[in-house]
Subunit: 366 residues, 2 copies
């Protein structure tokens, strides 16, 4: 038995957790940089909760609300310059994966001069602005990981900055911020979290504790499949999903992701398919592929999900995602050639060849 567990983030998941824990902000300084997107943090009340809490604690703040979907290096460099200009002591990232990942890169770049070619590789010094993250979708798990995933035009893909420096000091998680999300986003993000939990269990870095958390995450998501299919995403469903996505985030902080994410990035980069949807469209094919070499592991996963076989899993996902995008086999050839070079391919307990990746793409979109 070998277990590695490291999560230096204080996790507080609770209704009204920002208001209840407002005094914690004081530990981080007297000037905050809030990093978010243009609209959603205003619409769901999270930005107001945070600025109220900061004001009540006498903490100043500046708002950088220019984070793009799938943020680029240029986008986070702009945020880092804004952080420096405002002498921020710490960073509060609010949003889905894009704002949270951007806030991590901004906190890093505000303290370290890293040219583009060193941004994803390091070496890094120990300097970073302390990070507080508030997820407003239930998918990415970025609030409990050491990853910041940016669009990397050089690699024609999304690439991770991965360093323990990026673990937030504090994750404040409140399902209420997800209550107004469109059903489509709720489904995409829930299946992103499911993909994290499943990939985590099929990673060479899985261990007893990550499997325990992954199984709990999968159970919580799967028991809401009917809610997702029927659009009945009430408060209890939302609570399950955000708890599940945080658990799945803790899992991938240890296991990394696998082939599904490597393949999904091309769908997002070249076809602008939402990240969670991209993973979800590929997930059943990956299980069917892995089943040939790991029948017992896949049987165990299907048992946790209460599903008969991988075809039944594909069927649920097809119903959740509806009509699929049209992509040519030539494009799949190109995507397979890109994905095979992604470093997380090596995390797979059943390592696919480039042909295997191609076949999974084709099967997923047929």
């Amino acid at each position: 038995m070998s277990v590695h567990f490291f999560l230096p983030t204080r996790v507080l998941l609770d209704e009204d957790c920002v208001r209840k824990n407002a005094s914690l902000f004081k530990e981080f300084g007297t000037k905050a940089l809030i990093v978010t997107g243009k609209h959603s943090a205003r619409a769901n009340g999270s930005l107001q909760d945070v600025t109220d809490a900061l004001t009540a604690q006498g903490i100043g703040f500046a708002i950088f609300d220019k984070v793009e979907t799938n943020p680029t290096i240029a986008n986070v460099r702009e945020g880092a310059a804004f952080a420096k200009q405002n002498n921020a002591d710490f960073v509060i990232g609010i949003g889905g994966g894009s704002p949270m990942d951007a806030s991590k890169a901004i906190a890093l770049l505000a303290c370290q001069n890293l040219p583009d070619q060193m941004l994803f590789t390091g070496p890094y010094t120990q300097q970073i602005l302390p990070l507080i993250l508030l997820p407003t979708t239930a998918g990415t798990g970025s609030e409990v990981t050491q990853y910041s995933i940016l669009t990397n035009d050089l690699a024609q893909s999304k690439t991770s900055i991965a360093t323990p420096l990026l673990f937030p000091k504090l994750a404040l998680i409140d399902a209420k911020y997800t209550s107004g999300l469109p059903l489509r986003t709720t489904i995409n993000t829930a299946i992103d979290a499911l993909s994290h939990a499943i990939e985590g269990m099929l990673s060479t870095k899985a261990n007893a504790i990550t499997n325990l958390l992954a199984e709990e995450s999968i159970r919580k998501i799967v028991r809401n499949f009917s809610n997702l299919l029927n659009g009945t995403t009430d408060a209890s469903c939302r609570a399950d999903l955000i708890y599940a996505s945080t658990l799945a985030g803790i899992v991938i902080a240890h296991t990394g992701t696998t082939a599904v994410h490597c393949m999904g990035y091309s769908l997002t980069y070249f076809h602008h398919i939402d990240h969670g949807r991209a993973n979800g469209l590929l997930l059943a094919s990956f299980l069917a592929f892995a089943e040939k070499q790991q029948p017992e592991a896949i049987r165990h996963l299907l048992n946790i999900m209460g599903l008969e076989d991988t075809a039944a899993f594909r069927d649920v996902l097809n119903r959740l995602f509806g009509e699929k995008e049209k992509i040519t086999n030539e494009e799949f050839q190109k995507f397979s050639g890109l994905a095979i070079h992604a470093k997380n391919i090596a995390n797979c307990t059943t390592v696919p060849s480039q042909d295997d990746l191609y076949n999974m793409y084709v099967q997923s979109f047929s």
Copy 2:
């Protein structure tokens, strides 16, 4: 749903984990203070593994091997003076609960001048020597908690120093160090861990993640009951038990302990009954007491253990512990009067009165 999770300790549980991770020691400085007892760390090979690793990394060390069983304040003050005298950069605690808890207090007292009356209460500054802990029994879980439990003659009990400062930076956990433990110690420590997991589930501070870890811990211990009864504690049993004790430690880091520990401290203070045995002798009576107000919670616990009722649980524990100590009802009156004032009584989901505590003592020893 409300979840609080915070564990800033890097947990590495693995065979030969000291040798495999020797390079990690370098992150903590150039001079280590090793804190341990007189004999066991020499007998089980852990001290040799640590000094070999330090030597290989060019790190100097001094050894304070004078930790007593149930260490006193005077004992840890002596260790802290030794740490200062040797200019230690960090502390490596090796052993069961006594050396690990002592090492925490020593790391604190080496940096802060705390008179006796402030030692258990603070306020503390942020100064402490970084801590690395190696458990050599599978019970206390101290390697993943913020507690240091010392004998407190003023309170005629054991009292906790509890501050996040005491979380070790690193826990190196290898079941092989427990392989030579006498069966009696193996049983006492395993039941200490079981008590942590069970008390954690019956604490007002329990949450979804701590319950998940507690249930896993309980399953791993219970499936080794027959090994403990038969004395067949092979490597696989040892691996289960140390994994379970670490999980249970993570649980009580969040939930605290409850009435069982409060009551057990008198048995240890006045009758020198081993800490784990003291808890184990009281545990079934506590479940029978709590069952009256929380029948479903106790039914759930018994289900996890695969036991019919609390009588069956008492029967297993009786067989594990053999003949009980003779203690008078007058003493139980006194112990109840002490335990009712312990702060962890308030953690119980079913809070006992002083009479309830008395009745549990009497029932446990009848």
